[in-house]
């Protein structure tokens, strides 16, 4: 049967045909066979073949923000399918297996490392129609969602809830929970509550071979579960290479009674970063400790027609505090200030009204959009938080060496540093690769990782050997093979040897 032929092979013939203006029934039969099989499962309207429609599904935010270093997606030969349930996802994957065509799972498309981008003719499985919140289980403090429930849906739901909420906020609110799990998203609220990995209690996934598995028990609601190897944690952060996440159960936490946002300003980067471990060692665990630079944040506030409330200094730490009483909140705030004074605090501002808190976070969350047109790359190294100062010293040495500025943004409480490489004359500067290599080498030397939260995708593949030995990369390749022997799921490029 023609179905067993490689789709890529047929597409190559197809290209040959187009360029030589010969007609040939072979590719027509093949392509039509694939489309017919998909339509038999999904109906006419949920299989997109129109190149213009398909094109919109081939890019994520990487292409918006980091287009200079982003691989060009291949839309030619791609189809988009929009399943409505897990069974349909499984059927699509089985069809893809028969035709040996790659499958690219797609969530909200908010990734910035080109993690779900087709580089060859593929079936793009857009999860967008699996967007129902299935159960809010207050007895177990858990919520079960289909993969395409957005972060915004969770934010809206819990804004109305009296007692509970989902504690993370890992970036753009149009991100899907499926994508947030498959990329192990982090974001600003990880200091107290951890990253996505720490919230996931259950998953339903479709394997590249079409089988449907549930992790964390059939309901995904276990607090303790020690049977066999933990395949669920292997899936978290696997970026759609081991299977397609169709259902997610997340833990919830009780709301606290008092919240406040404290901005403390410093006259140098190093003083700000040095204050962070000093605060943590006192046993103070805010919800978030963010680092921003005054010039960028003031500019961003201006773009939004708002005012950044902290005037002094050049570097700010933003503390999101949440405690069970106003008194506890006040005490924590005072203690933080007291510690920061030892690091030459230049000024402090506390926001307790909901509006002021929201404004600060809104300005903070627009920092990246405000700067993105000027940048080539946003790096994502993470080091142990006690090593941030050493890391910053090296960043400053690098800036001097290449005679450039390296603006920073950091989830300082997590040791997660986003440094920006700026364009020069609208282009990639000559030193980009050198600088990047040195930056990540330093991170690894300090006990760090080449990606704290953005993930690997296509953009960080080359950096993996800095962090992993040959044996580790080989183990990862073999694990991929265990789940996906034909290598059809989100195949990307080969992991570098």
């Amino acid at each position: 049967m023609i179905g067993a032929w490689s789709y890529q092979f047929i597409v190559n013939i197809q290209k040959l045909i187009y360029t030589t203006h010969i007609t040939c029934s072979l590719e027509v039969v093949f392509l039509q066979g694939l489309i017919n099989d998909l339509k038999a499962v999904l109906g006419e309207t949920r299989v997109l073949t129109d190149p213009v429609e398909v094109e919109a599904y081939t890019r994520d935010y990487t292409w918006n923000s980091l287009r200079l270093i982003c691989p060009e997606p291949v839309a030619e030969g791609c189809l988009v399918v929009r399943p409505e349930n897990t069974k349909e996802v499984s059927e699509v994957v089985k069809i893809a297996g028969r035709y040996k065509i790659p499958v690219i799972p797609r969530g909200g498309g908010t990734g910035i490392v080109a993690g779900s981008v087709p580089l060859q003719p593929s079936i793009i499985i857009s999860m967008e129609r699996m967007n129902r919140i299935l159960e809010l289980d207050e007895e177990n403090l858990m919520i079960t969602c289909e993969a395409a429930v957005r972060l915004k849906d969770l934010v809206d739901l819990f804004a109305q809830h009296e007692k509970l909420y989902f504690p993370l906020h890992p970036g753009d609110e149009s991100a899907h929970v499926g994508g947030m799990v498959s990329t192990n998203a982090g974001g600003v609220r990880a200091v107290r509550h951890g990253v996505m990995r720490d919230q996931v209690k259950g998953l339903e996934v479709v394997l590249p071979t079409g089988e449907i598995l549930c992790f964390g028990g059939s309901e995904g609601k276990l607090v303790k579960n020690n049977a066999g190897y933990d395949l669920m944690h292997l899936f978290i952060g696997s970026e759609g290479t081991l299977g397609i996440i169709t259902r997610v159960t997340l833990r919830l936490v009780p709301k606290t009674k008092a919240s406040g946002t404290l901005i403390i300003s410093f006259n140098s980067r190093k003083e700000a970063f040095a204050a962070v471990p000093a605060i943590i060692r006192e046993g103070i665990i805010p919800v978030a400790i963010e680092y921003v630079e005054k010039d960028q944040i003031v500019k961003t506030a201006g773009v939004l027609d708002k005012t950044w409330p902290a005037k002094e200094g050049i570097a700010d730490l933003i503390f999101i505090l949440a405690e069970d009483s106003d008194e506890a909140l006040y005490n924590k705030g005072m203690l933080i200030e007291e510690i920061c004074r030892r690091f030459n605090m230049a000024g402090s501002v506390i926001a307790q009204s909901k509006k002021d808190q929201r404004d600060i976070l809104e300005i903070r969350s627009h920092l990246f959009p405000a700067i993105e047109k000027d940048i080539v790359d946003v790096m994502d190294a993470t080091v142990p938080r006690g090593r941030l100062c050493e890391f910053i010293e090296e960043v400053e040495r690098l800036a001097e060496r290449y005679n450039t500025r390296i603006p920073l943004l950091a989830h300082a409480g997590d040791g997660n540093l986003h440094t920006f490489v700026l364009k020069e004359d609208g282009k990639i500067p000559w030193y980009y690769n050198e600088l990047k290599a040195k930056f990540y080498q330093t991170a690894v030397k300090l006990g760090g990782t080449v990606t704290g939260e953005h993930g690997v995708g296509m953009l960080r593949l080359k950096e993996l050997p800095l962090q992993f030995c040959v044996k580790e990369l080989e183990i990862m390749r073999q694990i991929k093979k265990v789940f996906d022997p034909e290598g059809i799921l989100n195949p990307g490029k080969k992991i570098p040897d």
Copy 2:
């Protein structure tokens, strides 16, 4: 070279020789070769070959408490080695690979599912000498330990510490951290702080092929880390089958200022279990919610020459509370009482003095030792905590059906239920296997697992197919092969088809 022969094969010849009273130089050369190779790495005194000394290393607590259902370890042909550093562990594993002899990693030997017991001639790697606390890192709120640091060492260390502590207490204090990680130990304090998995930030491991890997960055201190598949989480709970854990980095949490232990008594099991999800849904997350039965706990107190303070009712919930102020503690306690009244609370007792709190926990932690001589098996199912009442109903039906009592002990806040199968006339009752199967089937039907915290070992292997489909078991087998192609590490028995 003889080294490439299977050690098992030689031991078989050895047995033949013993039984036929023939002498043969072959096995002597072989065994002596192995011993010489090990002694070349470890010196004379750290390779134990005396059968009496070796015997003591072949059993864990399973054999003490559940000897009726425990597989008999094989001491014949076993050697014990006691490495002092990671390099030595690696060398031993490489030697084992050359001789194709199984390797059994051994921690504190406190497991109760026969998880580190040789069933064939093996090298037992006792980690006992790798017992140094390497670093208490207050800036990162982490502690780094060699594998054989005991739970007791952590308890003692943090009893003296002003601000920080390690929040879990998963059972016997002679357990090693390496074992606690490799079994993903749970215990009583999981409601607020989670299980071992939630505490581990970094691991150093020796693979079955001798390579040494570090997970969580070279220092194991990352809060965010998204590079590649998470091999660290695959190791947690893998029970020494994928590699040998040599170093562990654990997160610490700040001490709270006020603590208290509240006992609330009920007149029925069901009322006690029904109260638990009602408390959780109010957003109250105590450190622990334990369930005990009055007759057992009063008897246990008697054995210890102490008095159980709660007199009323037949079933008690013990709440360990820890808050940042006496007022917050009092408020939480009052709220719990108020909720429990809705479930016909029979009485309540609060302990706030350190001594009274310690007494309650001491009695609670002796419950199992006090009952163990009467029991055949302690089961370890876990269900979503909202399903505990349904589960209990089934347990009561089973007790009626087999005309027996099924005493209970539960980490109720975690949905983790330990039911005891009692001996009849000192023997395994006829219905044991039937009852066990029905118990675990019910757990799985309710979204549960066949082991919440004890692990699989040899004792729960047969139950795995209740929870996992053929495909999942096959994936686990293949993952084992990726790490351990020769199958030499803690080989146990084959996972059932």
